[in-house]
C-alpha cells in the first residue's frame, strides 16, 4: 500500500472513529437531558413539517399546492426549514417507521447529533490536511470536549448544525483555493446555501470570504514588494477565490429557497420578515458578573469572559501556542518583514529564517478571520447576549484548529528535547514509530482535563464553568448565568414521578409546554402529571434559577406559605433547579 493510500485509510478510520464515537456518546447520554425551551417550539414546527412529508410521500401533487405548503411550513418562520425538516424526517422515518430510539424526543435530536459528529470529522480532515494528522485529531478532540459544545450537540436546535455548515462552507472555500477543480467552488456555494438554511450565523460567511480575498491580496502585494518577486500560483488561487465567491452568490440563495418551502410563495416579503426579525430581535435577560443585562449597552467583555470560563483552559492555552507558532512560522510575513527595518527585536527574530512556503489557501489568515468574524458582533454593545456561548460557537472549530496546531508544536518540541536527551528518555522513542508513544502520552495529558470537565458537566451543560472560574461554585459567586431555557426539568423527573400525587399538577416555569409534553411522551415523566402555567393551585412548582426570574420563586413562596424547597437539583453544590410544594395545611 502506498503512503498516500495508507494516509487515506488512516483518515477514513479516524473520521469514522470520531463520528461514531461522538454520536454514540451523545446517544448514550441523552436520556437524562431535559428539553430546552426552544426545542419545544421546534418539536411543534417539525411535527407540522412531518405531516407535510407524509402527504408528500402519499400525494406529491397535493403536497405542492401553495395553500398546503403554507399550511404546514408557515410554522416557526423565525428560523429556516432545513434542520427542522431533518428533525421531521428523522422522527417520521427513523422513529415512527423503524422505532430506532428508546425515546421519541431523541429522534428529533438525532440529526443535530449527526451534524455534531460531522463537525468533528470536518475539523479533523481540515486540521490534518493543513497541519498534519496529529494537529487534526487533537483539534477534533478539543472541539468534541468543550463542555458547552457537547451539551448543545444533544439538542434539537440549530447551534451545532450551524457550526457544521459554517465550517463546511469555509472548508469548501479553502479547498477551492487549492484544488484545480470546479467541484469545490460549487460545493462552497451549495454549503453556503445549506448554512443559510440552517441559521442566520451564515450571513457572516460572505464577510469572511470577502475579507479573506482582500486581506490576502494586500499581504501578497506587500510581500511581493518586499521580496521583489511574485508567486505565479497566487494568481491561480486568486481566480479560484472569485469563482468560489460567485458560486456562493449563485447557489446560496437557490439552495436556501429550494429547501425552505415557507419561502416558495411570497418569497421577498417573507424573506424580509425573516431578516427583520433577527436584525430587530428583542433583548432577553442575561446575568453577567452579577448584573442582569436586558437592554443595551451590553458588556463588551461578555464573549471573552464566557469563552475563557467555559472552554477548557488547556485548550485555550494550546490555542495561544498554535497562534504563536503559526505567527512564527509565517514570521508574521509580510508584516514582520515590513517592520524589520524599524524594530531591532523583529529583525533579530526574523534573522536567518527562510521565507514561508506559499500557501494557496492562506490557511492561517482564513482561520484567524473566521474566529474574528464570529466574535466581531460581540464587540458591539448593541449585540444581544442572551444566548450565551452558543451564539459564537461557530468560532470554536477554528479555535480548536489553532489549538490542534499548538498541540502539534508541543509534540515537536518535546520530540526534539527527547532526541537531545536520547539516553535518558530512550523508552519514549521506541524503535520504528518514535513519535507515537510520546504523542499518545502527551495527548492524554492535554485531553484529560477537557474530557473530565465535559463528562462531569452532563446534564448541567449550561451550569458548568472551568476551574479558571472556580467551577460552578466559583461562577455562581462571580454572578455568571447558572442556567436558561428550562431544560433542567429533565434532571429531576425521577423526583417528580416519586413526589407528585396521581393526576397532580406542576407549575413548569421556564420549561416550554411542548418540552414538558415530550418528557411525558418519552416515558420519562408520568403521563398523569399535568404541567400548568401558574403556581396557584399547582401541587408543585418548579423554579429554574435565573437572576431575572427570581420573582417566579417568590410567587411560589407566597402561594405555598413556605420558603423551603423540597427538591434541589444542581451541579457541584450549586442549586440550579428548585421544587416547592405547599406547606402542609394550605
Amino acid at each position: 500500500m502506498s503512503d498516500k493510500a495508507r494516509g487515506r485509510l488512516t483518515d477514513l478510520l479516524v473520521s469514522l472513529g470520531l463520528f461514531f464515537g461522538y454520536v454514540t456518546a451523545l446517544l448514550r447520554s441523552v436520556q437524562d437531558l431535559g428539553y430546552a425551551r426552544d426545542e419545544g417550539f421546534y418539536f411543534q414546527a417539525s411535527s407540522s413539517y412531518a405531516r407535510w412529508f407524509e402527504l408528500l410521500f402519499k400525494d406529491r401533487k397535493a403536497a405542492f399546492v401553495p395553500q398546503t405548503v403554507d399550511a404546514f411550513w408557515n410554522a416557526n418562520p423565525e428560523h429556516p426549514g432545513l434542520i427542522k425538516g431533518l428533525f421531521a424526517l428523522s422522527s417520521l422515518i427513523l422513529q415512527k417507521k423503524y422505532h430506532l430510539f428508546a425515546m421519541e424526543g431523541t429522534s428529533y435530536r438525532f440529526p443535530a447529533m449527526v451534524l455534531g459528529g460531522l463537525a468533528l470529522v470536518l475539523v479533523y480532515l481540515w486540521g490534518a490536511e493543513a497541519r498534519g494528522r496529529v494537529a487534526g485529531l487533537a483539534a477534533a478532540l478539543f472541539l468534541a470536549l468543550m463542555p458547552r459544545f457537547f451539551f448543545q450537540a444533544h439538542l434539537a436546535c440549530f447551534d451545532v448544525p450551524i457550526v457544521t455548515m459554517w465550517t463546511l462552507t469555509a472548508y469548501a472555500y479553502w479547498k477551492s483555493l487549492r484544488a484545480p477543480s470546479l467541484v469545490w467552488p460549487v460545493l462552497t456555494g451549495v454549503a453556503f446555501g445549506l448554512a443559510l438554511d440552517t441559521k442566520h450565523n451564515a450571513w457572516f460567511l460572505p464577510f469572511l470570504v470577502v475579507a479573506h480575498i482582500v486581506a490576502r491580496e494586500v499581504l501578497y502585494r506587500l510581500d511581493a514588494r518586499i521580496q521583489g518577486q511574485r508567486e505565479p500560483a497566487f494568481a491561480v488561487s486568486r481566480a479560484r477565490s472569485f469563482t468560489a465567491l460567485a458560486a456562493m452568490a449563485v447557489f446560496g440563495p437557490i439552495v436556501f429557497v429550494a429547501l425552505w418551502p415557507h419561502l416558495w410563495h411570497d418569497t421577498l416579503a417573507r424573506f424580509r420578515w425573516y431578516v427583520s426579525f433577527h436584525l430587530n430581535h428583542e433583548y432577553y435577560n442575561m446575568e453577567f458578573l452579577g448584573k442582569n443585562y436586558w437592554v443595551p449597552p451590553m458588556p463588551r467583555a461578555y464573549a471573552w469572559v464566557m469563552t475563557a470560563t467555559t472552554v477548557p483552559g488547556i485548550t485555550l492555552l494550546l490555542f495561544l501556542v498554535g497562534l504563536g507558532a503559526r505567527a512564527q512560522a509565517r514570521r508574521l510575513s509580510p508584516l514582520a518583514a515590513a517592520l524589520r527595518g524599524r524594530s531591532a527585536w523583529i529583525a533579530r527574530w526574523a534573522e536567518g529564517r527562510p521565507p514561508p512556503r506559499f500557501d494557496a489557501g492562506s490557511t492561517d489568515l482564513l482561520w484567524l478571520f473566521a474566529l474574528g468574524i464570529n466574535y466581531a458582533a460581540w464587540t458591539s454593545t448593541g449585540t444581544p447576549i442572551f444566548g450565551g456561548t452558543k451564539h459564537w460557537m461557530t468560532a470554536y472549530p477554528f479555535l480548536a484548529l489553532f489549538a490542534g496546531s499548538g498541540f502539534a508544536t508541543v509534540v515537536r518540541a518535546l520530540r526534539r528535547e527527547l532526541l537531545r536527551q536520547r539516553r535518558r528518555f530512550g523508552w519514549a522513542l521506541a524503535a520504528g514509530r518514535p513519535a507515537l508513544p510520546m504523542t499518545a502520552l502527551c495527548g492524554a495529558a492535554v485531553i484529560a482535563a477537557p474530557a473530565a470537565e465535559t463528562i462531569h458537566a452532563h446534564p448541567w451543560g449550561l451550569s458548568t464553568y472551568t476551574p479558571l472560574a472556580g467551577g460552578a461554585p466559583g461562577a455562581a459567586t462571580l454572578g455568571l448565568n447558572r442556567t436558561f431555557w428550562g431544560y433542567t426539568t429533565g434532571a429531576i423527573t425521577a423526583d417528580l414521578n416519586r413526589e407528585v400525587p396521581k393526576r397532580g399538577s406542576v407549575y413548569i416555569h421556564d420549561t416550554a409546554g411542548p418540552s414538558w409534553d415530550m418528557l411525558a411522551t418519552d416515558g420519562r415523566l408520568r403521563r398523569d402529571i399535568r404541567g400548568v402555567w401558574s403556581v396557584a393551585g399547582a401541587d408543585f412548582a418548579l423554579y429554574h434559577h435565573e437572576k431575572h426570574m427570581r420573582g417566579q420563586e417568590f410567587q411560589a413562596w407566597v402561594a405555598y406559605g413556605t420558603v423551603r424547597p423540597t427538591i434541589v437539583g444542581g451541579l457541584d453544590g450549586v442549586p440550579v433547579i428548585l421544587v416547592y410544594k405547599p406547606k402542609a395545611g394550605r
Binding site: 442582569n292 436586558w294 488547556i314 492555552l317 494550546l318 501556542v321 508544536t409 508541543v410 518540541a413 518535546l414 526534539r416 528535547e417 537531545r420 502520552l441 502527551c442 495529558a445 492535554v446 485531553i447 473530565a452 470537565e453 462531569h456 476551574p467 472556580g470 467551577g471 460552578a472 461554585p473 466559583g474 455562581a476 459567586t477 407549575y507 421556564d510 402555567w533 401558574s534 403556581v535 396557584a536 393551585g537 426570574m549 427570581r550 420573582g551 417566579q552 417568590f554 410567587q555 411560589a556 413562596w557 407566597v558 402561594a559 406559605g561 413556605t562 420558603v563 423551603r564 424547597p565 423540597t566 434541589v568 444542581g570 457541584d572 453544590g573 450549586v574 442549586p575 428548585l578 406547606k583
Partner: protein, 309 residues
C-alpha cells in the same frame, strides 16, 4: 539537535503538565463546595446559636436555597428572608462557605463561631441596630387595620380564603389567600406579598395598587409610635424598569395629620423613606393611614412596607 533548549522550548515541553494541573484543578473545583445534603449539618448548630429575633444570612447568597431547605421556615421565615433591610436586627447568624462573607453584615461584630465541615457559622452583632416598635405589614389584618378607596368612596373587604392568584412567567407577584379585596378587579387588593427588587432580591411588602382616582388607604388603629415612620416602596422590578409608568405617591397620616409623603418614580427600585413624627413621637396613635395614589394607575403594582421605630 545539539543546540541547548531555549526557555520557550522548555515552556512548550511543560504544557502537558499544565493539562494535568487543570485536571487537578477540575477535581478541586467539583469538590470545593459542600454537597446539598451536607447542609443538613447546620441545623443543630444554628438552632443552638439562634436566639429570638436573630436573622439568618447565607454567604454566598446563591447557597441560600440550600440553607432554607436545611433549616426550614422556623429558622428562616419568609419575614426574614424577604426583609426590607437589616437595620431591625440586633444579631444575625451567618452561615458561610468558600471563605465568603455576607456583604450586608459587613461591620457587624463577631460574637462566636463554629464549624460544621465546610460550613462556618458565626453569630454577629449589629452595631447600628434600631428596634422596631410596630411593623405595619405584620398588622395588616382585620381588627387592627382596614382598607378603603376615596374616589368614589368604597370599602375593601377582608377575605381569609380568597383564591390565590399568581402572574406566572413574567407576571405579577402572588396575591395571597388572606387579603383585603377591593371592587374593580383582582389587582385592587391589599395583602402581604413578595416582590423582586432591582437586584431581584425578595422584599416582603403590602401590595397596594392605586385606583384610577383618589387613594387606596390602609388604616391601622391604636398604633404605638416611635420617633419616625420608616419604610420602603417599590414595584416588581420588571414592571418598573421600562420607566414608563406614572409616579406613585404614598402619603402618611397620623391622627389626620400628614406627617410626610414618599414619591416613587419608575427606576427608583426598592427605595427607602423616613418621616419624623414630631409631636406624635412616642405616643399611641388613634389611627395611622398609609394612602397610595397615582395620576395614571396603569401597571402601578406598588408595594410598600413600613414600621415605626
Amino acid at each position: 539537535m545539539s543546540r541547548a533548549p531555549s526557555r520557550l522550548r522548555w515552556a512548550l515541553v511543560a504544557i502537558p503538565l499544565v493539562g494535568i494541573a487543570e485536571l487537578g484543578a477540575q477535581i478541586w473545583a467539583t469538590h470545593r463546595a459542600p454537597t446539598f445534603d451536607a447542609w443538613a449539618a447546620i441545623e443543630a448548630p444554628v438552632r443552638a446559636l439562634k436566639q429570638e429575633g436573630d436573622l439568618v444570612v447565607i454567604a454566598p447568597d446563591w447557597a441560600d436555597p440550600l440553607a432554607r431547605r436545611a433549616l426550614g421556615d422556623a429558622l428562616m421565615p419568609l419575614r426574614d428572608v424577604a426583609r426590607p433591610d437589616e437595620t431591625r436586627y440586633a444579631h444575625a447568624i451567618e452561615v458561610s462557605i468558600l471563605g465568603e462573607r455576607a456583604k450586608e453584615l459587613r461591620g457587624w461584630r463577631e460574637e462566636s463561631r463554629t464549624e460544621a465541615g465546610k460550613l462556618l457559622i458565626r453569630r454577629v452583632e449589629n452595631p447600628a441596630y434600631q428596634a422596631v416598635i410596630y411593623d405595619f405589614v405584620d398588622h395588616a389584618k382585620p381588627g387592627e387595620a382596614d382598607v378603603r378607596g376615596t374616589d368614589p368612596p368604597l370599602t375593601c373587604t377582608w377575605n381569609a380564603n380568597a383564591p390565590i392568584v399568581a402572574g406566572g412567567l413574567g407576571g405579577h407577584p402572588t396575591f395571597p389567600r388572606e387579603r383585603f379585596e377591593c371592587p374593580g378587579g383582582v389587582f385592587f387588593n391589599v395583602g402581604v406579598t413578595v416582590i423582586a427588587d432591582e437586584e431581584f432580591r425578595p422584599r416582603r411588602c403590602l401590595w397596594s395598587h392605586p385606583f384610577a382616582r383618589g387613594e387606596i388607604v390602609t388604616r391601622w388603629r391604636d398604633v404605638p409610635l416611635g420617633q419616625v415612620i420608616r419604610g420602603h416602596g417599590g414595584l416588581y422590578w420588571v414592571t418598573e424598569r421600562d420607566r414608563k409608568g406614572a409616579p406613585i405617591t404614598l402619603t402618611v397620616r397620623v391622627d389626620g395629620d400628614a406627617v410626610g409623603s414618599f414619591v416613587h418614580h419608575d427606576g427608583d427600585g426598592w427605595k427607602g423613606f423616613e418621616m419624623p413624627l414630631g409631636a406624635h413621637a412616642g405616643k399611641v396613635a388613634h389611627e395611622v393611614e398609609l394612602a397610595v395614589s397615582s395620576p395614571n394607575y396603569k401597571d402601578r403594582h406598588f408595594c410598600f412596607e413600613a414600621d415605626t421605630r
